[in-house]
């Protein structure tokens, strides 16, 4: 059904698109991550532990790659809030993954300044090279391609964030090399933000 005579709503619009949460294995922090958690949580007032939910979830994601139902329950227990409070946050913020992702997550900025410098072509080339659509992980499980909104590096457009590192001035013709370098040399092949690079 449509409210406008010339515009059909997506069929998907009519039913919930909410994905069921992957419950995963029982979860606890490694001792190192637990120590990091305890160091972090004292930054907030004792009765405001909930403030630590984003850093706590980052620790989960760095530990096991994505966030499961079990890990949300674990974080909720540490912060003395309900699992629903944690899920509320996880489902809102785009940087938390609720299903497994590739070893390298390629987040390509698609907003205006990157787009006018060729980000759309870049996404096409990566999608073609990996034979996937944006949002998917390739068959080898090595790469996930994401289209993301402005990364705040518009002067170095177009930009790809590979996991947490910025790759600036990316060109469609350089995609093959980027992927090959990641396959052979991993994160060591990344250059990172120009301000960090210039200082070396």
């Amino acid at each position: 059904m449509s409210f406008h005579p010339n515009m059909a709503y997506d069929a998907r619009f009519q039913k919930s698109v909410r994905e069921l949460t992957d419950q995963g294995e029982p979860f606890v922090y490694t001792p190192e991550n637990l120590a990091k958690f305890q160091q972090m949580i004292v930054r907030y007032p004792a009765e405001q532990k909930r403030s630590g939910v984003l850093p706590a979830l980052y620790l989960v994601q760095y530990q096991q790659g994505y966030i499961t139902g079990e890990s949300m329950r674990y974080v909720a227990g540490l912060l003395e809030i309900t699992p629903a409070d944690v899920e509320d946050v996880v489902t809102y913020y785009t940087m938390f993954f609720r299903k497994p992702v590739g070893k390298y997550v390629l987040s390509v900025c698609r907003t205006l300044s990157c787009a006018v410098n060729g980000a759309e072509r870049l996404i096409e080339e990566i999608a073609h090279a990996l034979d996937i659509k944006p949002g998917e992980t390739d068959k080898s499980g090595m790469f996930t391609l994401l289209e993301v909104e402005c990364l705040g590096a518009c002067d170095r457009a177009p930009v790809i964030m590979v996991n947490d590192a910025w790759q600036e001035h990316q060109r469609p013709e350089g995609v093959k090399k980027l992927l090959d370098d990641l396959r052979t040399r991993g994160e060591a092949s990344l250059t990172g933000c120009h301000l960090v690079k210039e200082n070396k």
């Binding site: 403030s51 913020y93 759309e120 402005c150 518009c154």
Partner: protein
Amino acid sequence: MEPLLTPHVRQKNAFSLDSYLQHDGYEAMRKALTHTPDQIIDMVKASGLRGRGGAGFPTGMKWQFVDRKSTKPRYIVCNADESEPGTFKDHVLMERNPHLLIEGCAIGCYAIGAKVAYIYIRGEFYHVQQHLEAAIDEARAKGYLGKNIFGSGFDCEVYVHRGAGAYEAGEETALLESLEGKRAQPRNKPPFPALFGLYGCPTAVNNVETLTNVPLIVAKGPEWFAALGPEKNGGPKLYCVSGHVKNPGVFEASMNITLRELIEGEKYAGGVPNGRQLKAVIPGGSSVPILLPDQLDTQASFDAVAKAGSLLGSAAIIVLDDSVCMVWLAKNLLHFYKHESCGKCTPCREGTDWMYKLLTKIEGGHGTMRDIDLLGSVANNVNGKTLCAFGDAAATPALTTLKHFRHEFEAHVREGRCTLQAEWRARQPVGAH
């Protein structure tokens, strides 16, 4: 004007405490602690410093509004979310001159009577977080933060809090919600954060660039600061120029400079490359109205840009050449707003999706003339009808392109296709593999 906020940023290890101390680092804080908090607020008020995050609200007033009678703790929250498309100035400050920000946070805390400042940085700034936290540790180890700073009895801590990819977290009350560990959704105002902010306590939320100006004001005096720019637009300003320019980047200047100089000047962005013509300029981040080439001589100050019919916003100047289809531009930005809408207010949650679908339809050559009118109608029903300024921001790309480039929309309908297929655009619709 000599750079004041970014003077040594190209030098090696400019971010280190040693380098900062060589250039009179933390002297402003030493001086501030010999004054009363009220004197500091008066200084900032007299300087005319206006918030650099987008709204341009006077910082001194904001600090004065912070409730001093309250028995609750008070907080400075530094907005380092920097998520407005086209903005990348705070990144340079935090990466290359972090101690200036730390000093600004500490002086701010002293002025409003806070003991803790939180710097909320965006999730994509992982490398910035590492540098900023290292700088804070360095400052604390040398006694510039912590207990009894300079033997004055003033205690101050600065912490970094990393967000997780929400544009809406740049809105001050949504930022506070996010810092409290909830979804980044705005609150109803009033009460404003000055009375009911972080954890319900009196809070001042200031942008990174705003706080980095505070040590300059304290060190060199409010009159000197105000005299740097036009009336009511004093101080140094960082401009981010991106898009179709030869030399995109962050440029520091006084607000006496014109948009033309920033875009075309050899010392600045160097003009439009490849022999193309300038078509339009977005002067303050994606949320503000477009300016046309004949308005380039506008002074790049808060008041002059507002008079020209746009806003200086976060001073993110996006330059567009004549290869840009304006319907495509509106579609690109509405994709952003549709994606980033927090979903709290119905007009914005539904309206951004409607606008994006209409623009996709028109851009793809399937639109009708009625769709163009409908787009304007939907935009006007989002504009001004939401809790925060996001609704206005999301309606702007549609309204401003319709105002100046309606003929392009009509051409899409008549021709049944987009006639400006630049080579940098997707060869086929993205996702159609």
